[in-house]
């Protein structure tokens, strides 16, 4: 908990990024690694994100409906509330936090294991820029694929609200759709996707930082994966605040 330690870590993080963003020694190999990461970090998260989004959308709708049981407030307000909370915060921020847990710990433990078993040294000895080869494909894959994941999450979240609103009889399809379209600001989606891209960069690069510089053995690899999740989550929350101030106010 020492300020200089954070400053030093930040310096090393920036230096690491300097090594990550260099010209690949072999584009084809990097592209292959990118495709593998799309599968690992992206496709493998589809199911989790889909289920969570559907149910959170449903819960947001039901909660709002329960709290708005006032005959003076039109039912379509429920849909507006669902739309705004899913698009502005739940999908970009909460889903990114969930991904920080799932993807961040995976990245840190994979890289940490490669470090302590000297696989990273083996890459370096071959002449491969290990930071770039191991980390760049992960960053690019997440920055490319997370917007797709988050867009899907928005869609499914709202769909969840729509379906469950109807099933519980709390809001009918006409009201829901009317609410969805009412005063819809498309810029909110842009804002959400900007956040998503920034968060994807934070999750992958911060977790990679913790894994890549592990020293020691299995215990330290485990610790690094915890640290990766904690620090990328905290930084996401901080960045969320800053981005909201910058973009929406």
């Amino acid at each position: 908990m020492n300020f200089y330690k954070y400053l030093e870590d930040f310096g090393r993080y920036v230096l690491m990024l300097g090594r990550v963003f260099r010209r690949p020694e072999n584009k084809k190999m990097y592209f292959e690694a990118f495709l593998i990461e799309i599968e690992h970090l992206g496709i493998n998260s589809l199911g989790l994100v889909a289920i969570i989004s559907l149910f959170v959308g449903a819960v947001v709708t039901i909660q709002t409906a329960l709290n708005l049981e006032n005959p003076l407030i039109p039912a379509y307000y429920i849909a507006i509330a669902t739309r705004e909370s899913i698009i502005l915060e739940f999908s970009p921020t909460m889903v990114s936090l969930i991904l920080a847990g799932k993807v961040g710990s995976n990245i840190a433990s994979t890289l940490g294991t490669m470090r302590v078993s000297e696989q990273i040294d083996a890459l370096e000895v071959m002449g491969v820029n290990s930071a770039s080869y191991l980390i760049l494909p992960k960053i690019v894959a997440a920055v490319f694929f997370n917007p797709i994941l988050i867009s899907m999450s928005m869609f499914l979240g709202i769909l969840g609200g729509f379906v469950f609103g109807q099933l519980t009889g709390m809001i009918g399809p006409q009201d829901f759709i009317e609410g969805l379209l009412l005063e819809f600001n498309p810029f909110y989606v842009t804002y959400a996707l900007i956040k998503t891209v920034v968060f994807a960069f934070i999750i992958t690069s911060v977790s990679a930082f913790h894994g890549y510089y592990v020293k020691g053995g299995a215990v330290e690899v485990g610790n690094s994966s915890t640290k990766a999740v904690v620090s990328s989550s905290l930084i996401i929350i901080l960045a969320n605040y800053i981005l909201t101030q910058l973009i929406l106010s």
Binding site: N26, S117, Q119, A122, V125, M126, G127, V128
Partner: protein, 257 residues
């Protein structure tokens, strides 16, 4: 050839390598011996530039490592192969993919030529037919052999092995030692091996350097070991009754001649 001049490496305030100079020659097996913790691994990783050093200089064929930029170092590294203590195979890749990796990354070979080269290297270490296995499915000795195959895939000028025998039984150790020696002679490689295995030393030690507490305590070849009266050598090498007896007999018989 590799020349090391007065190499110093510190971690924090502790000096782990305290001024070692040495020459390593092509077509020779150069051995670094010393107790566990004496600094062999740190010395080797410093040679390779995996650690930044705190003093001295390392010359590869006369060219100082400290004056090489990022790009030049990377080209130099494509001329190096290394066998790590724990083999360091990429565990998400099969045996074949491990060996082909440096070729795919750096060579302009067509796919078929790369396959030929991989099969040649695997054949060279007697591992034909293991192509599709994953590292987790291999024994320690097999992993070492895959690591050697991967290290020689690019036809290196320099080969580094960190305790290639650790964790292996004596018979497998000798197979690995002889393999490294044959490859060294066959391709005129400058080979540097870290070991504390006396069998290896007596088997393949063309040029032996003893490190003690980060200093160079002795240098010679396997024949010299039997005759030297250097205390550090005797302390390190002749730890067992058996070896002390061998040395006594050797000295007696050479006096008689």
């Amino acid at each position: 050839m590799i020349r090391v001049e007065n190499l110093i490496k510190k971690f924090g305030d502790t000096e782990v390598i305290r001024g070692i100079s040495a020459d390593f020659f092509p077509g020779k097996v150069n051995l670094i011996i010393g107790k566990s913790g004496s600094g062999k691994t740190v010395f080797m990783k410093s040679l390779l530039g995996l650690y930044d050093i705190d003093g001295g200089e390392i010359y590869y064929s006369g060219e100082p490592l400290s004056e090489m930029d990022f790009k030049r170092r990377k080209t130099l590294r494509t001329e190096m192969g290394m066998v790590f203590q724990g083999s360091a195979l990429f565990d998400s890749l099969t045996v074949e993919e491990n060996v082909i990796f440096p070729l795919k990354m750096f060579s302009n070979m067509i796919e078929a030529d790369m396959r030929d080269r991989v099969n040649f290297c695997l054949g060279r270490v007697n591992l034909e037919g293991a192509n599709k296995k994953y590292p987790a499915e291999l024994s320690g000795g097999m992993k070492k052999r895959v690591a050697i195959a991967r290290a020689i895939a690019m036809n290196p000028k320099y080969l580094f092995c960190d305790e290639p025998n650790s964790g292996l039984d004596p018979q497998t150790s000798i197979v690995i030692d002889n393999l490294i020696r044959e490859i060294t002679l066959e391709f005129g490689i400058t080979t540097v091996i870290n070991t504390h295995d006396m069998n290896s030393v007596m088997e393949i030690g063309d040029n032996v350097i003893l490190i003690k507490d980060g200093y160079k305590a002795w240098q010679g070849n396997k024949a010299d070991i039997l005759t030297t009266d250097n205390e550090n050598v005797n302390e390190f090498v002749f730890t067992s009754q058996l070896l002390r007896r061998v040395k006594e007999l050797h000295l007696q018989s050479s006096r008689r001649e």
